[in-house]
C-alpha cells in the first residue's frame, strides 16, 4: 500500500519483523561453574578490548528473552530478582551470543526450561521444542520447579566480580539486567501477537565519569571527536562498534546514543570511558542508566487511524497535516507509540525492554480492531 511520504523519517529505523526462531548459538549450552567463571573473565576482557566485539547476531536473540523473562518471573519473582545482577555477566559465556541478560537459572536449568531451547543446543531441548510455538513452552515453563531454580541460584553466588554493579537493590541501573524487578502484571499469552516482536532501534543512556574533563584536550587527541564550543558545550565522539555517538561534557557526564541493545549501550559507554581514561583522566563508570529505549515493528496490515483516534480520544492525537502518524500515549506502561497507516509502529519512552513489549502487546488487539481490509 502506498503509504506515508518522505517526512516520516522514522521509516528508515523500521526494519522488518524478525524471524521468530533465530539460528542456534554456536556453543553448547550446559556449562559447569568453573567454566562459567572462566567465561566471565573472558567476557570482561572482551569488554575491555577495542573493536569488533559486538556479537553480530545478538539482536536476533533478543526476542526470545522476554518470554523467558516473563515465565521465570511469573514462577519465581524472588529468585529472579536476586539473581539478575549476578547473572548477566556470567552468561556472556556464549561468546557470540548476547545472552547476558538471562538469569543464570536459565543456563543451568535449560533442560527444564524448554522456552529457552532455541538458544541452547542441548539435544533434549531442541528436539522437543524447536518446532513448537511459544505457547506450549510457556505452559511447561510455568510448571517449573522453583526449588531447582533456587538451588542453581545459590551455586552462582561467589562467581561474580568487578564490573557487576554490587547493589542488587538497584538492578535497574545496570543495563544488562532485563528482568523487571517487580513481578510482571499478568501477561497475555505471547501467541496473541502472532509472534511479532518489536525490535530495539535506539537506546539513550547516561553515565557519570566522575571527573572534570578538559574537552579541548580530548578533542585534540581522540579520534572521531568533534568539539565546537561556540555551538555546543560538549565533545561529540563516535565509535564504529557498537555504532554509537557520545556527548561528553566537561563535568564528566556522558550521554551515549545509537546502540541497539542495553548491553551494546553499556559496552559502548565503557569504550568511551576507556578512551577518556587513556587520555589521562581518572575516569570511572558510575550510575550507568538507560534513559530511553526506542523500538519498532510492523503489524503488516493497514490501520484506519481515523477510527482509532475517535475511539481512543483521551490517549491519541492524530494531526495528519502535522505528522503522518497517530501519537498514542499509553498510560500503563508509560510509553508513547507512533502508529502509522502502513502498520508500522514505533514505541518510545521506555526505560526497560519489557515496557516496550508490554506496550506492543496492549496495542496489538486494538490495532487489529481497526484493520483496514
Amino acid at each position: 500500500m502506498a503509504s506515508a511520504p518522505r517526512p516520516e523519517r522514522d521509516l528508515r529505523l523500521l526494519a522488518g519483523c524478525l524471524p521468530p526462531y533465530p539460528p542456534p548459538p554456536p556453543t553448547v549450552g550446559l556449562l559447569s561453574m568453573e567454566q562459567q567463571e572462566t567465561y566471565l573473565e573472558l567476557y570482561l576482557d572482551q569488554c575491555a578490548a577495542q573493536d569488533d566485539l559486538a556479537p553480530p547476531r545478538s539482536p536476533l536473540f533478543n526476542p526470545v528473552v522476554p518470554y523467558g523473562m516473563y515465565i521465570l518471573n511469573a514462577s519465581n519473582p524472588d529468585t529472579a530478582f536476586n539473581s539478575n545482577p549476578e547473572v548477566k555477566e556470567t552468561s556472556g559465556d556464549f561468546s557470540s551470543v548476547d545472552l547476558s541478560f538471562l538469569p543464570d537459572e536459565v543456563t543451568q536449568e535449560n533442560k527444564d526450561q524448554p522456552v529457552i531451547s532455541s538458544r541452547h543446543e542441548t539435544e533434549e531441548n531442541s528436539e522437543s521444542q524447536s518446532p513448537q510455538s511459544r505457547l506450549p513452552s510457556q505452559d511447561i515453563g510455568l510448571g517449573l520447579n522453583s526449588s531447582s531454580l533456587s538451588n542453581s541460584h545459590s551455586q552462582l553466588h561467589p562467581g561474580d566480580t568487578d564490573s557487576v554493579q554490587p547493589s542488587p537493590e538497584k538492578p535497574n541501573s545496570d543495563s544488562l539486567s532485563l528482568a523487571p524487578i517487580t513481578p510482571m502484571t499478568p501477561m497475555t499469552p505471547v501467541s496473541e501477537c502472532c509472534g511479532i516482536v518489536p525490535q530495539l532501534q535506539n537506546i539513550v543512556s547516561t553515565v557519570n565519569l566522575a571527573c572534570k574533563l578538559d574537552l579541548k584536550k580530548i578533542a585534540l587527541h581522540a579520534k572521531n571527536a568533534e568539539y565546537n564550543p561556540k555551538r555546543f558545550a560538549a565533545v561529540i565522539m563516535r565509535i564504529r562498534e557498537p555504532r554509537t555517538t557520545a556527548l561528553i561534557f566537561s563535568s564528566g557526564k556522558m550521554v551515549c546514543t545509537g546502540a541497539k541493545s542495553e548491553e551494546q549501550s553499556r559496552l559502548a559507554a565503557r569504550k568511551y570511558a576507556r578512551v577518556v581514561q587513556k587520555l589521562g583522566f581518572p575516569a570511572r563508570f558510575l550510575d550507568f542508566k538507560i534513559q530511553n529505549m526506542v523500538g519498532s515493528c510492523d503489524v503488516r496490515f493497514p490501520i484506519r487511524l481515523e477510527g482509532l483516534v475517535l475511539t481512543h480520544q483521551q490517549f491519541s492525537s492524530y494531526e495528519p497535516e502535522l505528522f503522518p502518524g497517530l501519537i498514542y500515549r499509553m498510560v500503563k506502561p508509560r510509553i508513547v507509540l507512533l502508529i502509522f497507516v502502513s502498520g508500522k509502529v514505533v514505541l518510545t519512552g521506555a526505560k526497560e525492554r519489557s515496557e516496550i513489549y508490554e506496550a506492543f502487546e496492549n496495542i496489538y488487539p486494538i490495532l487489529k480492531g481497526f484493520k483496514k481490509a
Binding site: A4, D10, L13, F232, P320, E321, I327, L338, A373
Partner: protein
C-alpha cells in the same frame, strides 16, 4: 465573482492585487484538502479557486492587522504574540490554536527522542527548543490576561465540538473505503500549507509589507489558513444539505439546518432522485455559506461587525454559534 462584497472583511485591493501577474495558485492542493475534509472524491476546480480567494483575503487582512499591532509595539517582525493578541476575543478558536501549538511541540519532542541524529541536531542548535511554542503562548497570555479567562484555557479540557464533528465525519468517510482509496485519502489529509511553506510565503506576498512574520508566526498563519478551509467546507456541507429538497419527508421544513443528517440520505436520495452527498461542493454553496455565516468565518471573526439575521434573533436561536465555532 462577487465574493469580496459578500465577505465584509475583504478589501478591494487584495483581490485586484492577486489578479495582476500572480501565478501561484493553491487550487490543486486545495482540491486535495477539501477531499480530506469531507468533500467529494474530486472537488470542483471552481470551488477550489473560490476557496483560495477567500482564504487569501482573510489572511491578508489578518496580516495587515497584525502588522499594525506590531508597529504599535515598535517591533520589527510580526511575532506569534501579535497573532495571539488578535485572536484573544474568540475563546474557542484560540484554544484550538493553542492545542495545535502544543501538539506541535510535543511531536517534535517525541520525534527527537527517536532518532539520534535529531537529538544531536537539537542539542547543537541550543537546547531552548523544547516546548518553545508553549512557552511563547503561555508567557504572552500571562501578560495580557486581566481576568484569568485566557490562562484558564490551558487547563481547559472541554471537547472541541467542531473538531469532534470533523473527526466523526472523517471516520465515516473512511469506513467504507478500501485500502487503496484509504491510502490516497491519507495522503490528502497530510497536505497542509505548512508543508509547502515557501510556496505559501510567496502566495501571501509579504514583500510589499514592511513588517514580516517570523518563523513561528508563519506556522500559525499556515495553520489558520488550513482552519479557514476546514471551516468553509464544514459550512458548505451544512448549506448543501439544507438545499436538498427532501420531497418525501413531511418534516423537512421544520428540521434545523444545524445538523447534518447522514442516516437520512438514503431516503432523501430515493425521493428526489439526486445523490445528495456524493456531489462535489459547488461554488454557490460556498458563497451561500459565506453570506450566512460571514461573521463567523476566518481568524478575524471576532472583529467583524455583522448585521446578519442571527444577531438580531433572540439568544436561544443562536444555536449556530456553538456548532460553527
Amino acid at each position: 465573482m462577487n465574493n469580496t462584497a459578500a465577505s465584509p472583511m475583504s478589501t478591494a485591493t487584495s483581490s485586484s492585487g492577486r489578479n495582476t501577474g500572480k501565478s501561484i495558485s493553491f487550487a490543486t492542493e486545495l482540491q486535495s484538502m477539501m477531499y480530506s475534509l469531507g468533500d467529494a472524491r474530486r472537488p470542483l476546480h471552481e470551488t477550489a479557486v473560490l476557496v483560495e480567494d477567500v482564504v487569501h483575503t482573510q489572511l491578508i487582512n489578518l496580516l495587515q492587522q497584525a502588522a499594525e499591532v506590531s508597529q504599535l509595539r515598535g517591533a520589527r517582525v510580526i511575532t506569534p504574540e501579535d497573532l495571539l493578541f488578535l485572536m484573544r476575543k474568540d475563546k474557542k478558536k484560540l484554544r484550538r490554536l493553542l492545542k495545535y501549538m502544543f501538539i506541535r511541540d510535543y511531536k517534535s519532542k517525541i520525534v527527537k527522542g527517536i532518532d539520534e541524529d535529531d537529538l544531536l541536531e537539537d542539542k547543537l542548535s541550543g537546547s531552548n527548543n523544547t516546548n518553545k511554542r508553549q512557552k511563547i503562548a503561555q508567557d504572552f497570555l500571562n501578560s495580557i490576561d486581566q481576568t484569568g479567562e485566557l490562562l484558564a484555557m490551558f487547563e481547559d479540557d472541554e471537547v472541541d465540538e467542531v473538531k469532534q464533528e470533523r473527526m466523526e465525519r472523517a471516520e465515516r468517510q473512511t469506513r467504507i473505503m478500501d485500502s487503496a482509496q484509504y491510502a490516497e485519502f491519507c495522503e490528502s489529509r497530510q497536505l497542509s500549507f505548512s508543508k509547502k511553506a515557501s510556496k505559501f510565503r510567496d502566495w501571501l506576498d509579504c514583500s510589499s509589507m514592511e513588517i514580516k512574520p517570523n518563523v513561528v508566526a508563519m506556522e500559525i498563519l499556515a495553520y489558520l489558513a488550513y482552519e479557514t478551509v476546514a471551516q468553509l467546507v464544514d459550512l458548505a456541507l451544512l448549506v448543501r444539505q439544507d438545499m436538498v429538497t427532501k420531497a418525501g419527508d413531511p418534516f423537512s421544513h421544520a428540521i434545523s439546518a444545524t445538523f447534518i443528517q447522514y442516516h437520512n440520505s438514503a431516503e432523501s436520495t430515493a425521493a428526489c432522485g439526486v445523490e445528495a452527498h456524493s456531489d462535489a461542493i459547488q461554488p454557490c454553496h460556498i458563497r451561500e455559506a459565506i453570506r450566512r455565516y460571514s461573521h463567523k468565518i476566518g481568524p478575524l471573526s471576532p472583529f467583524t461587525i455583522s448585521f446578519s439575521l442571527t444577531e438580531c434573533l433572540p439568544q436561544e436561536w443562536d444555536g449556530f454559534s456553538s456548532l460553527l465555532m
